[in-house]
């Protein structure tokens, strides 16, 4: 069904990005684009520069060279929270939730970029601040319903199993009402059933909210099933870019994943 989904305009484009840490080149001259409403996967072997790429997009890293275009505008140097305000939200490879807080509170933190009342109103509470809180809570309740996590609404996140924490993290990213959702290995460490659930959620998010999704994932089966287009990185360079079928049959990709004999 991924073929039928139509891709719209380009929402984000990276042009000739190069990123290095001291002498280590993490990314070398990589360019690709992400179109409105698609599921875009970034894959590659360990150390290929996938997470670095995601960090560039979300504003954590600033590349030495290259440009990031978001929503038709070139992006200058930005802090991560500014990127988040623009409508890019993400999850992390190693869950970054507030472990001592409940699921509900964690999701509410996802709404912070949308909260406008100042410290004065917050202190008085009655009136605008309260109304705002209720509006945001309603939004969060819809996400709780969407992800089917009603039963853990009041449970401290630290007590939840890993798969559930991943789901809460997705919820927090959704709460930010992002235009572009970046998922860093959303299915790492999950069992088959949890993976199936998570895949379902990603497709549903994409379907129902029209959110553009970019994900990094190692499970090739999942990637091939979920994504519309895939970009393959290896040693910081782009190896291939295209639909799952194109990528699957690309010789360079096969070599990178399966290895080539040296005597060729």
């Amino acid at each position: 069904m991924s073929e039928e989904r139509k891709a719209g305009d380009t929402i984000l484009e990276v042009k000739d990005i190069s990123l290095s840490f001291g002498g280590v080149k993490a990314i070398t001259d990589v360019s690709f684009d992400i179109k409105q409403g698609e599921v875009r996967a970034i894959i590659g072997p360990n150390g290929a520069g996938k997470s670095s790429m995601l960090n560039v997009i979300s504003g954590f890293y600033h590349p030495q060279k290259g440009e990031v275009w978001f929503d038709g505008k070139k992006r200058g140097p930005m802090k991560p929270y500014q990127v988040a305000r623009q409508g890019v939200s993400r999850t992390f490879q190693n869950i970054a939730l507030f472990k001592g807080m409940s699921t509900l509170d964690n999701l509410m933190t996802g709404r912070i970029t949308q909260m406008n009342t100042n410290i004065f109103w917050q202190a008085i509470w009655k009136g605008p601040a309260e109304r705002e809180e209720i509006a945001h809570r309603e939004r969060v309740e819809h996400i709780i319903d969407f992800l089917g996590i009603q039963a853990i609404r009041k449970t401290p996140v630290g007590r939840l199993p890993y798969g559930m924490q991943k789901r809460v993290e997705l919820g927090r990213a959704l709460a930010a009402e992002a235009k572009l959702l970046l998922l860093d290995e959303p299915m790492a460490g999950m069992n088959l059933e949890e993976k199936e659930d998570m895949s379902r959620f990603i497709l549903d998010v994409n379907d129902e909210f029209g959110t553009t999704v970019t994900l990094i994932e190692h499970d090739i089966g999942v990637v091939m099933d979920l994504s519309d287009r895939i970009v393959v990185l290896d040693y910081g360079c782009k190896l291939a870019d295209g639909t799952p079928d194109v990528v699957r049959n690309d010789q360079a990709v096969i070599d990178a994943y399966l290895g080539v004999s040296h005597d060729k």
């Binding site: 069904m1 309740e141 039963a151 549903d204 379907d207 129902e208």
Partner: protein, 650 residues
Amino acid sequence: MANTPDTFPKILIENATKFADKAAIREKDFGIWQTWSWSMMRDEIFALANGMAAMGFKRGDKIAIVGRNRPRLYWSMCAAQCLGGIPVPVYQDSVADEIQYVLEHSEVRFVIAEDQEQVDKMLEIFDRCPNMEQIIYDDFRGLGDYDKGNLTNFVDVQKQGRQYAKENPDYLLQEINKGTGADVGIFLYTSGTTGKPKGVVMTNDNIIITCRNSIEFDKLTADEDIVSYLPMAWVGDHIFSYGQAYLTGFCVNCPESEETVASDLREIGPTYYFAPPRVFENILTSVTIRMQDASKTKQKMFNYFMGVAKKVGVAKLDGKPVSGKENFLYWLGNILVYAPLKNTMGFSRIRLAYTAGEAIGPEIFDFFRSLGINIKQLYGQTEAAVFITMQPDGEIYADTVGVPAIGVEVKVNDDGEVIYRGPGVFHSYYKNEASTRETKNDEGWVLTGDAGYFAENGHLKIIDRAKDVGKYNDGSMFAPKYIENKLKFYPDIKEVVAIGDQKDYCTAFINIDLEAVGNWAERNNVPYASYQELAGDERVYKMIQDSIEQVNKDLSTDTLMSNSQINRFLILHKELDPDDGELTRTGKVRRRIVNEKYEVLINALYDGSKDCYINTEVAFEDGRKGSIEATLKIVDVKTYPPAVALKEAS
């Protein structure tokens, strides 16, 4: 009584004026209890009924209802009845093939499905059910890019209905007025302990008169609150959450999701509650586990006051006199233990609780009664619209199921089988004349299939399923359920299958309770990776063996049952599961299937071997198959001479 409404739509119209703004149904959604009053509910139901009429739903058509307890699904029952149609609720956790049988057999034209999961199942069997035409879905999530040819959103049906009502303002009322008490009101499929499910045809009178009588018996009022969480396909839910709710006007509360039932129960604090014995067992197990984790002081306090409750609570509930000191201790215990405990269980406001479906262990029964929870047993069947016998206040015994319900005659026939006749007796089995005649005779007496007798106090005592009661080789009686229930009281034991018919002695298969035993393992540093590994652990075997010996000691004092002491047992390598056909969807053991499937193990239990190898096929939730193999230990248990019993009797 000429004007008493005789169908549910007519009752709805009456309630919508009588209780206009009173809460009729609630559902927790988006974290808040959403409430519909009786008049709002009428409008919703009428919109739906009109919409269904617009879609071509006619008198006599059937609509299948698949999903968990949700207001909209309850509404669809009444909406179908408005048009003279017949709702057919289906067990929502059944796999597609099981549902297919019911849908094909009942010839449903319409289906109302809760969500994507159920819609997927319906689409899978769509082509195999020639009568199926329309699927209405409640939750649209994930259905965005489905082919909408025969899929319609619930709200769109209602929208269509409101339009239809403008064009045909009198149609619905005319249809409602055409309905009579003698019309078929609902098909309820039995869970099928012995084979394919049978469609029990119920008339409106069956349900309405039975509900009226039971309301009178236990003096239910419009102020009750219940939480409906049991499958809608089960006759009990139809009576409690639909029939009695309409007839008294009380409020039905639908939980937010299956996982939140416990916390929703606590929030609502029902006054009237129904649960099969298994649920009460589970509650007791979790209380026991949590007390084991509690501090020493708390444990001491709990044990002391539970002792007080055991002596005083039941007597107080039955209105018997207790001494001043006992009264004081019970009062203190209530402050320190009972009230907080009841609050955690969600039973603070409970006025009346029923349990039925299977016999409940007397210890479990007394535990709840001693806390002041008025839990009663009732004996019923789908074919009777639940009520056959009930326990009147003040005459509650753990080992009997009570006196005949109002309007019901109960007898024991010459074969020792319990038979009954009354207003709730079913019309027929759908498209199964032979079974109908086998079960119900011309005078309206119905065979229950249960063996029982009336005790001296006039209360009915059920021994077992008549089919299950057998004989040992020496001719003495073997009643498996009796033995199993005694064992199931132990929190570590979840399920038992006793074997003994046409054998020399009694043996048993045990399923351990993963939660309880797992908790024990954690506290005692016993490592395990799976159910199978834990079940095979020597220390677990030892624990179970101790429990069985305790039961044997108990049985040895019972003149009738002293022969039924368990000689040998084994712990099964997997939990008995409805997906594998070993249990019914309501959780009863299908003995025939278990006996066939584990024949090797049964033979090993009687040939003296110390262990036995078995390979079992299992079905996973998504329908895939796999297999588990294991070598199971078989353990001999100490039995006790029945001499003690003889001495006591003389």
